[in-house]
Symmetry: C2
Subunit: 514 residues, 2 copies
């Protein structure tokens, strides 16, 4: 055991973690790690505990220590895979961030934002904007995130440490607008706002906000309205937050690419993030993790999975338009299985990028190439390589034994869904559940909802640990127990052999917050 | 009046119809028309009546004559626009088609199918497959379609005469498979089927079906199963019908392009088609017409509109990847309004193809170009030209005073939705409503559902004309009455000045059919 701990500690220092034997793609890199491999910061594990967590036989379920409560009493639990990779390639992050107003002056969009992490996080309550006398200078947001790495843990670790800073940066850019209620975002900063419900006070506030960046010139005075155009789209505050999350994902992906020049950043990762700001939950998803809201026992999906099957038409369209991306080895057409040489000239089922149905075509020589999308369900792959089509990283990923890059087919852009939390009442058992695919591969939305609801019903509503215990229970139900050399769950089904990470976020704290 | 009739008749012959002054794009074409302008064949109008129907002042509402009942007692009504184009650019088609099995022999996929139109259409009942002793040789399908033309009526007229033949052709290709229930379509024709519930009889039936085309060689006998692959997608019968409709739209579009070399085919058109075959309704839509099912008063949308706004991300993605399509005059970025030169260097709201939210960017010289997508709602345009992004035709359409073609941004591919009609029970008031945008621009789904439901409730359930009267009522509600020089509908709202065409299709006849 001591040896194993020593080895693990050595790995933290030497960057060997990124070249593990199973599933960790050899980075062919002598570069150092930017951040050592670890488990989520809020678990507060010692190196020894991190080592123990990676036991593929015992698969211990980890939960936060009692002294490390997460905001909103959020529940969290995780477990490592059954051996498919040396390390747990899931990563997580949970923070309450306070964005400070950027000092006036020339625009510096590429600078990291002036955020401060909330120093103590007893529960996060009581620090909402309304209660905060600093309202005009600070914007507080809550943040939960899951990252599911592949081909190494480098990208997942990096994203878990940095993505929230990118979100904070983009929110900082628009925070003065967001903090001026009842005022539409101005189309162009440095000009007058266009809102019609404008009070003189908020007019002045926005004029100030708008003139803070971009233009040196002062906006026109209220008595001389600038020229208006026959059509001008109105953009909501909500759209600005969505845009901030979308661009933060893009910047994170660019940063991963950039860091690769200096550090060893292995693999790629999915990203599922939740931002709670100004009374609304924003769920941004790029990958195959999943978020659902359970409210009064009813399930509302808050994300959709991005896989070769769900994104088939986007991928085929891209390949059709830029066929050089297929390196003359793949075809953008889909067939139900590989075409064989002897079938040239016969009629075979196919689908093109425009089709959701199937038809027959006469097989040509070109159809013998390997299909861009191949396989079904969890086995579906893009370019015979990857089973998830959105996420961060993977810049160096190529088709085995070729020079065909996968990255052009992957999108780092999340789909963002919004839940206007404070517009609803929530009981103690209404929660948002986030899980990596290790959870959802073996449990349906309905099974998760029933498990969580029945678990919470048996807890003391005032017990702050109930959500962590529910998360632990959920991970247990998805992992199962070791029986006859296999992990088994209820009804003797196979348990998940994947890494599993789960948040259970009670929604009623959001009501208290605002 | 006589003069007008003469002039109209002359137009039928001379092709002048395509160069009308209002909205009819001058084709710059001396070519003849393939089909003269007319109203839907099932209306059975004389040239004189066609002429009267085009009265932009009276705007008479046309319905089928009593002697010309449509299948299923379908209701239909239409009215011309209030002057935006000389002709009614909506077209419609309704047929019951019988697809004959193609004789064995070499594959001739480009030949027109051996269909016959049902010679008399008293009601369409009693000719379903089950009652038909010819089941193995014939496939009957019902067909309703609406086409909404723009920039001339040529494409709409052509599509209304021919699209159903393309559908029949594609159904013919797979009819033997479709008519063999409980059997999955074989991946490759000429090989053994893969279905596991295979009776020896149906096995033989399919083997025969499969060997009829494509391969000359006989499939393996049941006792020597061919090699199987570790993954092979199962494709449903339903997917084959969807694929047939999708490919029929493509072929129709190709034919329009081809016919342009020989005939004057002006403009483009949307297409909304309904195919009822083997117990299911298939609704294929390319454009901004709409189909809804009203069942027990509840609305189920059966189509979605394809407009510059709903397809923004697809269009921006294409322009981003193939920027030469923008001719150096447009930008693929979206801004809330035109950017002005004085705003270069300022921060302005924008959206890229990856974003559904908005963010600020610093305006550059390139952003002064006109946006690919511009305007809101009904005024939204692609390349400042067209407000609908799917349909047929438009091959010659260019941005005004430029060499920039619009067609690459338009898709001829329909979205197909399926309603398993025979799996539901239907009363006499359960209907499928199809309408061109002239209807839906002024009435919501809910208003239409309430109007139809309350109208039918006041009719004798056995009156075969009730659906036509309901369609007439609906067109009247959308057109309104001429008051103070404007068309007004309920609550003194503006009536539709567009062409309006409406089908009301009772669903209970589908139950009787199967």
């Amino acid at each position: 055991m001591l040896t194993r701990v020593k080895s693990a500690v050595a790995n933290f220092m030497g960057g060997m973690m990124a070249v593990g034997p199973n599933g960790d793609q050899p980075g062919c890199s002598d570069l150092p790690l930017k951040f050592p491999y670890s488990r989520p910061e809020f678990l507060g594990l010692s190196p020894d505990e991190v080592e123990c967590s990676a036991d593929h036989i015992a698969r211990p379920i980890l939960i936060p220590k009692e002294t490390k409560r997460l905001p909103w009493s959020t529940g969290y639990a995780e477990v490592i895979n059954a051996g498919k990779s040396t390390l747990n390639e899931d990563q997580a992050c949970c923070e309450v961030l306070v964005v400070k107003r950027r000092p006036a002056g020339p625009s510096t969009p590429n600078r990291m934002p002036m955020t401060r992490r909330r120093s103590s996080l007893p529960n996060g309550e009581g620090l909402g904007l309304r209660d905060n006398p600093d309202i005009s200078n600070d914007l507080t947001f809550h943040y939960w995130a899951l990252f599911d790495g592949h081909a190494g843990s480098g990208a997942a670790v990096l994203a878990s440490r940095l993505l929230h800073h990118h979100i904070a940066l983009h929110l900082q850019e628009v925070m003065e607008i967001l903090c001026t209620p009842n005022l539409l975002p101005p189309t162009c900063l440095g000009e007058e706002p266009i809102d019609h419900h404008l009070s003189p006070t908020s007019q002045r506030a926005l004029t100030r906000a708008a003139s803070l960046r971009g233009a040196a010139g002062a906006p026109g005075s209220p008595s001389t309205p600038p020229t208006r155009f026959f059509t001008e789209k109105k953009v909501s505050h909500e759209s600005l937050v969505i845009g901030a999350i979308e661009n933060a994902f893009k910047d994170m992906d660019v940063q991963i690419e950039r860091e690769k020049a200096v550090y060893n950043v292995s693999g790629g990762c999915t990203a599922l993030v939740v931002v709670f700001v100004l009374g609304k939950l924003y769920v941004g998803n790029a990958g195959d993790s999943r978020a659902i809201i359970i409210r009064a026992g009813e399930v509302t999906p808050m994300s959709a999975e991005f896989t070769p099957e769900s994104e088939r038409q986007r991928l085929q369209f891209l390949a059709y338009m830029q066929p050089y991306l297929l390196g003359n080895e793949f075809t953008h057409l889909e067939f139900p299985r590989r075409v064989q040489r002897k079938e040239v000239g016969k009629r075979m089922l196919y689908r093109d990028f425009t089709m959701s149905g199937w038809a027959y075509k006469t097989v040509e020589e070109d159809d013998l190439k390997f299909p861009l999308i191949y396989g079904e369900g969890k086995k579906a792959r893009v370019l015979a390589t990857i089973g998830v089509t959105r996420g961060l990283g993977d810049h160096n990923l190529k088709v085995h034994d070729s020079n065909i890059y996968i990255k052009p087919f992957l999108s780092c852009c999340p789909e963002v869904r919004v839940y206007p939390l404070v517009q609803h009442e929530h009981g103690a058992d209404d929660v948002l559940v986030l899980g990596t695919d290790g959870l959802w591969d073996v449990l349906s939305n309905q099974e998760v909802a029933e498990a969580v609801t029945s678990f919470l019903a048996n807890c003391d509503p005032d017990d702050q640990h109930r959500y962590t215990m529910a998360a632990q229970d959920l991970v247990m139900r998805a992992r199962g127990v070791l029986k006859d050399r296999g992990w088994r769950i209820s009804n003797d089904r196979l348990g998940s052999g994947d890494d599993i990470s789960v948040y259970i976020i009670p929604l009623m704290y959001g009501n208290k917050q605002n």
